[in-house]
């Protein structure tokens, strides 16, 4: 039997798209529902990747425990960042969180004892121990699996779990108060609810999703370095949630597939420009930028957002 025996390049693309779907879901909680303009989401992605890798590869922690630990550390970091910054609004918050991401990246470059600096670090336990063992035991039962298939499947199962949990949680009274905080935080405080706590919780939940995405990124890369955590990662997340529509959950998943998958990762397989690689990469971002501009111009609520909500927000 052949179960995803040959997933080809599109399988690899789909894995990355799934990782970005989880990453962007975190932003959707923070920005879309909490109104917290977190421009440093990549910091939590970095924490997830490095913390889980260091714990698993250097301290012998299990993969699941390492992943959960990475998420927990990211949540604590989110609350610590929230304390001084969440009382800031708009631009100031954006700049502070952006700086936080850059600071962590530089720490990763310089703390060589912990991160091996710009040389990068290996996260091979998943690929070697799990995938190889799995493939061997399945081969004994005459089932062939591509070595990229287990992470592809795991990522997309997690995308569905993360989207479902987020969707359910945002439908509760908690989610409703969180959106009220986004609309008017003084009015929420006047009702006896701690607006600050809601925003901090949104930060922490979003950070947990980013950290989970970071761990999957590490497993997918096997070898990674601080250069994978430039601010562009956060911006890619913003492009996804804005194009999907702020607040949308399932739209975010679809947009991650379209933008990160089909447009950014996948275009080399369907678009043949004949240009050198570097130029083609720039062209990709130009296309994404143009697509975003068109969406914002002609469909400001995003492809899956609600026009009525968009109009009501301006009152």
């Amino acid at each position: 039997m052949e179960l995803l025996a040959e997933i080809g390049p599109w399988g690899a693309v789909a894995t990355v798209a799934g990782i970005y779907a989880i990453f962007a879901m975190g932003l959707q909680v923070q920005v879309g529902h909490g109104g917290v303009d977190n421009f440093g989401q990549v910091a939590f992605f970095l924490i997830g990747a490095y913390a889980s890798t260091i714990l698993v590869e250097q301290h012998g922690m299990g993969l699941v425990a390492g992943t959960l630990a990475g998420m927990a550390i990211a949540m604590v970091a989110a609350v610590i960042v929230a304390l001084p910054t969440l009382r800031l609004r708009g631009d100031f918050l954006a700049i502070t969180t952006l700086a936080f991401g850059e600071i962590l990246r530089n720490v990763a470059v310089n703390e060589r004892g912990l991160t091996k600096g710009s040389a990068g670090i290996d996260a091979f336990t998943f690929r070697i121990d799990i995938v190889r063992e799995l493939r061997r035991s399945l081969r004994d039962q005459d089932i062939l699996v591509d070595r990229l298939a287990p992470l592809l499947i795991l990522t997309w199962v997690l995308v569905l779990v993360v989207a479902l949990v987020t969707w359910l949680l945002l439908r509760t009274p908690w989610g409703r108060v969180l959106r009220a905080v986004r609309e008017d935080d003084a009015a929420v405080r006047a009702l006896g609810k701690n607006a600050f706590a809601y925003r901090a919780q949104a930060m922490a939940l979003g950070a947990a999703w980013a950290a989970l995405a970071g761990t999957l990124y590490a497993w997918n890369q096997v070898h990674f370095s601080p250069s994978g955590f430039e601010p562009i990662v956060t911006f890619a997340g913003f492009v996804i949630i804005i194009a999907a529509g702020l607040g949308t959950i399932w739209g975010t998943v679809l947009m991650a597939i379209l933008i990160q998958g089909v447009l950014i990762e996948g275009s080399r397989y369907w678009l043949d420009t004949g240009l050198p690689n570097a130029q083609e990469a720039s062209l990709r971002y130009m296309v994404v930028g143009l697509a975003l501009m068109l969406i914002v111009r002609f469909r400001p609520q995003g492809l899956f957002g609600s026009r009525a909500e968009m109009a009501a927000a301006d009152e």
Partner: protein, 255 residues
């Protein structure tokens, strides 16, 4: 005599060189309806901000229900039952009118993150809250707007929505900053009829800012007058109206 519900002493707030609130003190007895009047810029809203904890005064203390609340956060004071509205009405624009009121209810286990993680928690309470929300929307003539987004409401409707929302918290003391601004007179009468009912049925206490002297005369037991940050008169409506200092503040202000 009973202990005052609200006891404010020596509240002072400066903005740079301007003393917006200047050593203001007063107390409110439970079950009373008090009006706060004064010319534009007198410091009424700033006093509300200081009492409700939205800005920290430069001096003075606030006691509510016999306990000092000067160091409490705004939401902490609201939890104790001292709830305020805003001069410029606030609404959660991208939530429905129904949700705007519903979410204000206190003791909703699932509006905390931990509670929200437990499926089905507080379901009974939720249905009681829904019923109450419908009643309040009915009272304020917003029932047919229940499913509209709050951002689609007119200015006057927002005032009413905000009033319905703060009532949902079941406060003991309501501080209303110009509750009637932009509300048509007939609805305004209904609003005050409701205020009177809440006072007689639940012993609720009200302090409201209002510019229309007629409304003040008709609906308050007592009137506080501010001018240039200071409290210049305090008494029953008739006495205050005849007070030369008050007449001076209102008529002499334009010189």
């Amino acid at each position: 005599m009973s202990e005052p519900l609200l006891q404010v002493d020596g509240i002072t707030k400066r903005f740079g060189g301007l003393t917006a609130v200047d050593d203001v003190g007063f107390s409110l007895e439970p079950g009373t309806i008090t009006a706060l009047i004064g010319p534009n810029g007198a410091g009424k809203s700033t006093l509300f901000h200081c009492v409700s904890g939205f800005i920290r005064p430069d001096g003075g203390t606030v006691r509510f229900n016999g306990r000092g609340v000067s160091r409490r956060s705004a939401h902490g004071r609201a939890q104790l039952g001292m709830v305020r509205t805003f001069q410029i009405p606030t609404a959660f624009n991208r939530l429905t009118v129904f949700e705007n009121v519903e979410l204000a209810a206190r003791d909703q286990p699932a509006d905390r993150l931990v509670g929200a993680l437990v499926p089905g928690l507080g379901r009974l309470r939720r249905s009681a809250i829904r019923t109450r929300t419908n009643d309040l929307l009915e009272t304020f003539g917003l029932a047919d707007k229940a499913d509209d987004l709050a951002g689609e409401l007119s200015g006057g409707q927002r005032k009413l929505l905000e009033f319905a929302r703060v009532l949902m918290t079941e406060p003991q003391l309501l501080l209303l900053d110009e509750p009637l601004a932009g509300v048509n007179p007939a609805l305004g009468e209904r609003l005050f009829a409701h205020v009177n009912r809440l006072r007689s049925d639940h012993g609720m206490t009200f302090l409201f800012v209002e510019h229309d002297i007629r409304t003040v005369m008709d609906h308050s037991d007592r009137v506080l007058v501010m001018a240039q940050g200071a409290l210049i008169a305090d008494g029953d409506p008739e006495t205050v109206r005849r007070d030369p200092a008050v007449v001076e503040a209102y008529l002499g202000g334009g010189e």
